[in-house]
Each structure stands twice: as C-alpha cells, then as structure tokens.
C-alpha cells in the first residue's frame, strides 16, 4: 500500500475529529483515544521496518510529481521519531486516564491531544518547507489549548507568554520561508537543496547564510536554544503532568529535528560560519541549562532545565557533522524523548503524592513507594548516561565525533555536563526519597500503582534501547547516513536527479 507512511498522521487526525463528537462521553473518549494511539504505535513500528527493508519512502500527495506537489518523506530518522512520538503519546495518554480529571476530559482534552500528535508526526514526515510550517501550527495550536485547558491562574498567565513567543516565531518562520522562496523559487525540501547547491558551487552566497541564521533563530525559538529559551521554564511549569511530559518530550524536539533537517539538507556548504555558530550556541545552551538545573529546589524546574541541556547536547553532535556525531545525535534524541517523558511522569507522581513540587518539603518517599523510588533511580542513571543505559552510547558518539571534528570545547562541555546532570537528578532522588518518611495529606487518594504503568513502560523501553543498542544501531546508522549524505534524500524524492 503506497499510502502507508501517512497512517501515523491520518489515524490521530480521524480520531481527533471523532473525539469532538464524543465530547461529553468520557469513557467513549478514552476508548477512541486509546485505540487510535495503539494503532498509531503499531503502524509507525511497521513503517520503521518498511523503511529499513525498502529504503526511503515517499508519497506525492494528490498524485502530483515531486517538486510541484506536497511530498511526504519518511527516511529512517523521521520514521524513528514518529515511532518514538507515538510511544510517548500512548504512555502520556494512559497516564492521563487516571490523572487529568473529568473537568478537563469533557472539554476536548483528548481531541487536542490527538491533534498535537497529528502536528508532531506531520512535522517529522513532511518533505515540504511550507507544509512543515503548517504542521508546526497544528502542533502549536493544540499545545495552546492543552496549556490553558483548566483555566487556573498560572496557566492563564503562562499561556499568554507562550502564545506571544510562538506567534512571533511563527511570523519569523513565514518570513524566512518567503526569503528562501524568493532566492530558490521552490518549496520542496529536496528541490531547495538541489537549487542551493547549484548556486553555492563556488562559494555560498551571503543571502543563503543569512537565511540559514534566520532559520536557526526560528527553530531555536521553538526548540529552546540559548539565548532563545527564556520562555520555556515558565511556560512548561504551568500545565499538569501528562501535558508537561508530552511537551517536554515532543515539542522542543520538533525544533531540534527541523534544525537537523535544514542544516544537513540545505545549509551544509559554508559550515565554517553556520555550524560554528550552531556549535557555540549549543555549548552556551548546555551551560545555561546546567546552571538552571543546579539552581532550583523544585522537581519540575530541575527536569525542565534538563530539557534545555539535552537540546544543547544534541546540537553539539549535529554541529560536528561527522557520521559518528550525527548517529550519536539521533541516538540521544530518541533516548531523550523516552526518558524525559518518563521523568516528567515520575515527577508528576511525586508532586501528586506530596501535594507540592518543592523538594524541601518532600522526604522519605522510598519507604512507602519503593517501586516509584527505584524506577526514578534507573531513570536518573539513564538520563545521566551511565553505561549500560541508553544515554551512554549517544553521548559517547557525540564526544567521539566532537574530537574527530576538533570541536574540543563541545566534547568537553558535553562530558562535564553529564556529571552535573547526574548531580541535579540525584539531588531529587536523595532529598525526595531518602530521609525520614513524612505523612502527606492527600497521598492515599493518588492511584500510584495505576499511574506507574506509563513511566514503567517508558523506562523498560529506555533500558532496552540502551542494553540492546546492538539491535537498535543498524537503524540509527541508516538514519545518520541520510543526514550525512543529502544525495540519498534528494534521489529518493526527485527521481530523475
């Protein structure tokens, strides 16, 4: 079936529409949302396998030939990211069933949730720069709904900031696409790449470099790199735990993916300037993220600053542009999506038990909740990159690639950041789980056992991802090959080139 690669976009889209009809029937909504999430996981797993055996999958929508219509492209990187997105979404959905509450469920929570997955999966799959913008907007509109749904004071305040920043960055995105279109005269990503390399045969013209930096600003605003991350810590603090997990695992990663796509497919002719800039910003992002993660005594804030660190680490790997570091970046990207989601869900359970996310008011949880404690411990080790867990291989490859490309500062900062990440997460473990147990007022109303299902699934997958890296690695290296050699992508899309 030629339409295979659209199914991870189409299934949540249809279920999102059905969920609008079923708005007042909570149980029906849960069934529809759960089934469609499960189907999405299954079909995206099959898609990964198909890309593995048959190479890059393309679909010319409306049956128009490649540069003229919208083309959807599933290379290994996007297929893997779609699969990870579907898994994270499924886990967050299971968690939502027990934690989000009927009030939110009746006001189109699951519909917005489904449309968010449509946007993210679409952004990962599209092969058209303007279509990427449209899927960004689908994703962002749904995230506006999810961030404000419930209408508490903090949510209202933070959603104003969040929407303001994203409206401005979306306007910049349109302007950047406009500039690019006026220079190259096409919107199909593969075709843009061909046109740019035609005009950059001797030296990359200045205007292309300017557009590259403009795209970095746009996607940096979405993906929270230094100095454009200022909106993230506040905005992500506002929504409830499953929404926060979804945002932390998916939204910034779409920005990172877009930087990866544009900087490996379009703007690879003048790496001396553009990738040097990317590298410098990535290093500063790590440093600022680490400072934030160490400074706070609030569980959610610590994990939120860890998102920023991870974005920096991935971009350091990307800016080195060696096959090893690109593979490491992809490996780390997927690892980070799984583990960040698990950490946010675990932090959500801790905050629900204690009634606060202030670390100084939580102590001795491991006596009553040993399962929660040890799961969190494994998640912490995974995040920091202790072998044999999954953070390790990604970081090793990024560091190795960094040394090969003589990006010594980047490699050194990535290594040192691991230590401080471990410190910031262990601070939660030591202060929250050790010590003398304390009685919490509403602790027995929290269905800890049922809430634990979702993070445990994610952690098991994360551990398998690290321990079974021998099995995973062929997929990753196939993805990295497309990134380091854009001709593979171009040939798959534009058949005659």
């Amino acid at each position: 079936m030629i339409n295979f690669l659209i199914l991870p976009i189409l299934i949540p889209l249809i279920s999102g529409v059905l969920l609008i009809f079923a708005a007042k029937h909570v149980m029906l909504q849960r069934w529809i949302a759960g089934l469609s999430a499960l189907l999405t996981v299954i079909f995206s797993a099959l898609l990964v396998q198909k890309v593995k055996t048959d190479g890059i999958q393309t679909l010319n929508l409306s049956n128009w030939e490649a540069p003229f219509g919208i083309t959807l492209v599933s290379d290994m990187m996007s297929a893997l990211l779609v699969l990870t997105t579907s898994i994270v979404a499924f886990a967050c959905l299971i968690y939502s069933f027990k934690s989000i509450g009927h009030e939110r469920e009746k006001y189109y929570y699951y519909a917005a949730f489904s449309f968010l997955i449509v946007g993210v999966n679409g952004a990962f799959t599209t092969g058209d720069i303007f279509n990427l913008f449209v899927f960004f907007e689908v994703m962002l509109m749904s995230s506006y709904v999810l961030i404000v749904l419930g209408g508490t004071k903090i949510q209202l305040r933070e959603s104003v900031k969040y929407i303001l920043v994203n409206v401005i960055s979306s306007a910049l995105f349109v302007i950047a696409v406009g500039f690019l279109y006026s220079v190259v005269g096409t919107l199909n990503m593969a075709h843009i790449s061909v046109r740019i390399s035609e005009i950059s045969e001797v030296a990359q013209p200045g205007i292309i470099t300017v557009i590259a930096v403009l795209f970095l600003i746009v996607f940096g605003l979405k993906g929270a790199i230094f100095p454009l991350y200022f909106w993230l810590p506040g905005s992500y603090y506002a929504p409830p735990a499953p929404v926060l997990a979804l945002f932390g695992a998916l939204l910034t990663k779409v920005g990172v993916y877009s930087i990866a796509r544009t900087y490996t497919l379009f703007f690879y002719h003048d790496t001396g300037f553009t990738h040097q800039l990317l590298s410098t910003l990535a290093i500063l992002t790590i440093i600022l993220g680490v400072i934030g993660a160490l400074a706070y005594w609030d569980i959610k804030k610590i994990v939120i600053y860890n998102i920023i660190i991870a974005v920096g680490v991935i971009l350091v790997g990307l800016s080195s542009m060696t096959p090893d570091s690109l593979a490491g970046s992809i490996f780390y990207l997927i690892h980070d999506m799984l583990v960040k989601a698990a950490l946010f869900l675990l932090a959500g359970i801790m905050a629900a038990i204690a009634g606060t996310s202030n670390l100084k008011k939580i102590t001795g949880l491991i006596k009553q909740y040993p399962g929660l404690g040890w799961t969190f411990f494994i998640a912490a080790l995974t995040l920091a990159g202790i072998p044999p867990f999954s953070g390790f291989i990604g970081k090793v490859l990024i560091v190795k690639g960094g040394f090969e490309a003589e990006n010594f500062w980047g490699a050194a900062i990535v290594l040192m950041s691991s230590l401080l990440v471990l410190f910031s997460i262990m601070k939660i473990f030591i202060n929250g789980f050790w010590g003398t147990p304390r009685a919490y007022k509403d602790a027995d109303q929290v269905p800890v056992g049922k809430l634990m299902i979702a993070p445990v699934i994610l952690i098991i997958l994360g551990v398998f991802y690290g321990v079974g890296s021998e099995f995973v690695f062929p997929y990753i290296s196939q993805a990295a090959e497309t990134l380091s050699n854009p001709n593979i992508y171009i040939e798959a899309v534009l058949k005659e080139y």
Binding site: M1, I2, N3, I6, L10, L13, I14, V17, L18, I20, F21, A23, L59, N60, L61, S62, N63
Partner: protein
C-alpha cells in the same frame, strides 16, 4: 427603554437571503473564478451574524438549531473523508477524481470531488466562526 428596531429586522429578513444566495454562488464559483469554501463559509457566517444583530441569541438558536461544534467536526470529517477516499483505490492521499455529466435541465456539468472537500472547508469555517461569536456572546 426598549428600542423598536422594526426597520433593522425587516431589512434583515430580505438582505439575509441575498447574502446566503451570494455565499452559495461564491462557494460553487470557486473552481473557475475567485471564491471557494473559505469565503463562502465566511459570508454564510456573516449572514447568521446579521441575524444575531437584528434579533437575540435565543431566537437565532431557535431558527437555526445547529450545534456548531459538531458542524465543525462534520466538516473536518467530510474533508478528511474526500482525501482518505483515495486510499481505497490505492492512489496517494488527497487524489481527486472528476467527471463530466450531462444533466437534463442544467446541461454539461463538471463534477469534481474537490467540491466535496470545499464543502468540508465551508462547514468548518461556518462552525468555527459561529462557535467563536456565540461563546463570546453568551459569556457573562
């Protein structure tokens, strides 16, 4: 003091039909001339808003007993359905089909599934606009 807006209400009753007819014309003209589902939908919504200005919310809800949220969802379903229909024939998503038909009174017509897609857009635009207006209007 309650004002008597008999002129406004009488004029509305006549103008309403002109606007609705115009919006239907714009909707069907979209393939060959400027127009289409989006402007058509906005014009229809404009007609309903004129009704809301001349009368009150309850009267309009009685005349047009639609659930606009469901109308939006129905429009989306129609639009997705036209795209997904191509999957049944193993064609790429959104591939449209068209044919020429000879109808006794109207003569030669070109029938295109893009018109059904436009109908979806039309319903979504009307549904969304009316939901926004009604929600703000009912807000105390």
């Amino acid at each position: 003091m309650k004002t008597n807006d008999v002129i406004l209400q009488t004029a509305t009753k006549i103008v309403l039909f002109v606007i609705v007819l115009f919006s239907v014309y714009i909707f069907f003209a979209g393939h060959y001339t400027p127009g289409g589902g989006f402007v058509g939908g906005l014009l229809t919504a404009g007609a309903i808003i004129l009704l809301l200005l001349a009368f009150d919310m309850k009267t309009v809800a009685k005349i047009l007993p639609f659930n606009y949220m469901n109308m939006t969802a129905l429009g989306l379903l129609i639009a997705i359905g036209t795209g997904a229909g191509a999957l049944l024939f193993n064609k790429p998503f959104l591939t449209h089909a068209f044919t020429y038909a000879h109808v006794p009174v109207l003569g030669k017509l070109s029938l295109h599934t893009a018109a059904i897609f436009d109908l979806g857009v039309f319903l979504v635009v009307v549904g969304v606009t009316m939901t926004i207006i009604q929600t703000i209007g009912e807000d105390e």
